[in-house]
Amino acid sequence: MKIALRILGTSIFLVGGFGQLAGLRARTHAAPLPQQMAHEMTSEVKIDNFSFSPATLQIKAGTKVTWTNADDIPHTVVSDDKIFKSKALDTDEKFSFTFDKPGTYPYFCSLHPKMTAKVVVQ
């Protein structure tokens, strides 16, 4: 276990340049940086006021997208093509999915199907 942690520590050290960027990000609360290492790529979608924002999310393949429900009403995140499907997310609950393949992924809330959005993976 210790060895594993050390290896992990080393790998973080090796990508020190990105570590600095990450530090900058933490200080400024900026949006996720576009040029990140594969294992660091994350993106956020907020569910608020019965809508997904951004309605169109552009990401690179390998990005992990996390949806957070900020509404007082539960919502779901369901792919039109049944590629991903969350459970009903209560207030502040999250759902994540990693997009490995390029393409356009339309999705909606199966409880309030007027809520639609898409993820575009390059």
């Binding site: 006021n49 019965f50 809508s51 509404d71 007082d72 009403i73 539960p74 779901t76 369901v78 039109d80 459970k87 009903a88 209560d90 207030t91 339309p106 999705y107 909606f108 199966s110 409880l111 309030h112 199907p113 007027k114 639609t116």
Partner: protein
């Protein structure tokens, strides 16, 4: 801003509610509806106006109550005590002159389809002085398991996702489910299988039979922008054209509204849990928050103080506090 029609011409049920009243004073609150069938025509009375209820007017061949959207498990600021407000609604029902025959719950019984939420509602409704209760699911009742828990509790004798019909005192009741298999960008959906069943179910009925249809999402287009309508309702309504008296009871929008279209009268019921804004009057249809100290005094109150023509309707204070 979208222009929306802000009045209806009818208050034919005498319950003092119309669109204008709503939009003016946000009289969204209420606890339930007493429905009385007389001469084959249904009249409805808001339980919030119980004090004004004329026992003679409320007498008929059949009376029943409708409650809706109890959202058991909801605990946000719009109402941190949905147990308390549901209990208050049951007290209103039990205070009615003459016991209503049965109770209809038009869905969103629970907030998240959890077994303990269903348990709580069942326990509270056991206190209602009615012989029977009938249910259709709302989208919140099928949120985590495609309706499995709902069907285990209320699915006996129903078809598909829980649709069913029954007869009471010569009136034919049809419970429809329009909250499953919803499509991206769409509204409520009945689906092909249920529509076929409905056509078949109604075929055998004489056109003189009064029909009451109940379902969660409105079967008329209240406000499609917010999903307040049912995609394939027109098909269902076409099967109802031959009948002389049709009443459609819905929930989902957490406010009362009425509309008359030909032989069909549409009603939506208030929620026992929390209010939602009038169509288009907010950014989204999320719960409306009122100050905590006001919640109990506003839930259950139908403060309709509109003036239509020369007839002013009195304000009735009948709160849950």
């Amino acid at each position: 801003m979208k222009k929306i029609e802000d009045e209806i011409k009818f208050d034919h049920n005498g319950d003092g509610i119309d669109r204008r009243g709503f939009l003016k004073c946000m009289a969204w609150a209420g606890t339930g509806t007493l429905c009385v069938m007389k001469g084959g025509v249904m009249k409805s009375f808001s339980l919030s106006r119980l004090g004004e209820l004329d026992p003679a007017a409320a007498a008929g061949e059949l009376s029943f109550v409708q409650i809706s959207d109890s959202h058991m498990g909801f605990n946000k600021p719009a109402n941190p005590d949905v147990i308390g407000t549901l209990k208050a609604a049951i007290e209103k029902i039990n205070a009615l002159p003459g016991n209503p025959e049965f109770l209809l719950h038009t869905g969103d019984i629970t907030h998240l389809s959890k077994p303990e939420e269903f348990d709580n509602v069942q326990q509270i409704l056991r206190g209602a002085k009615v012989k029977e209760s009938f249910y259709v699911p709302g989208e919140h009742d099928v949120a985590i398991d495609e309706g499995k828990e709902f069907l285990e509790r209320y699915g006996k004798g129903t078809k598909g996702a829980g649709w069913h019909s029954f007869d009471k005192n010569g009136v034919h009741f049809v419970g429809l489910v329009n909250v499953v298999n919803l499509k991206a960008g769409g509204l409520g959906t009945l689906g092909h299988e249920q529509l076929e069943w409905l056509e078949d179910d109604l075929k055998a009925k004489k056109s003189s039979t009064p029909i009451v249809v109940f379902a969660h999402i409105p079967l008329w287009s209240v406000y499609p922008e917010w999903g307040w309508g049912t995609e394939d309702a027109a098909q269902a309504l076409s099967y109802l054209k031959k009948f002389g008296s049709v009443t459609v009871l819905n929930g989902h929008i957490h406010q009362t509204m009425q509309k008359v279209e030909g032989n069909i009268t549409f009603h939506t019921a208030a929620s026992t849990a929390f209010p939602q804004p009038a169509p288009g009057k907010a950014d989204s249809p999320g719960p409306m928050k009122v100050p905590a100290e006001q919640l109990r005094s506003v839930l259950g109150v139908t403060s309709v103080n509109f003036v239509r023509g020369q007839k002013a309707l009195a304000v009735v204070d009948s709160n849950l506090a």
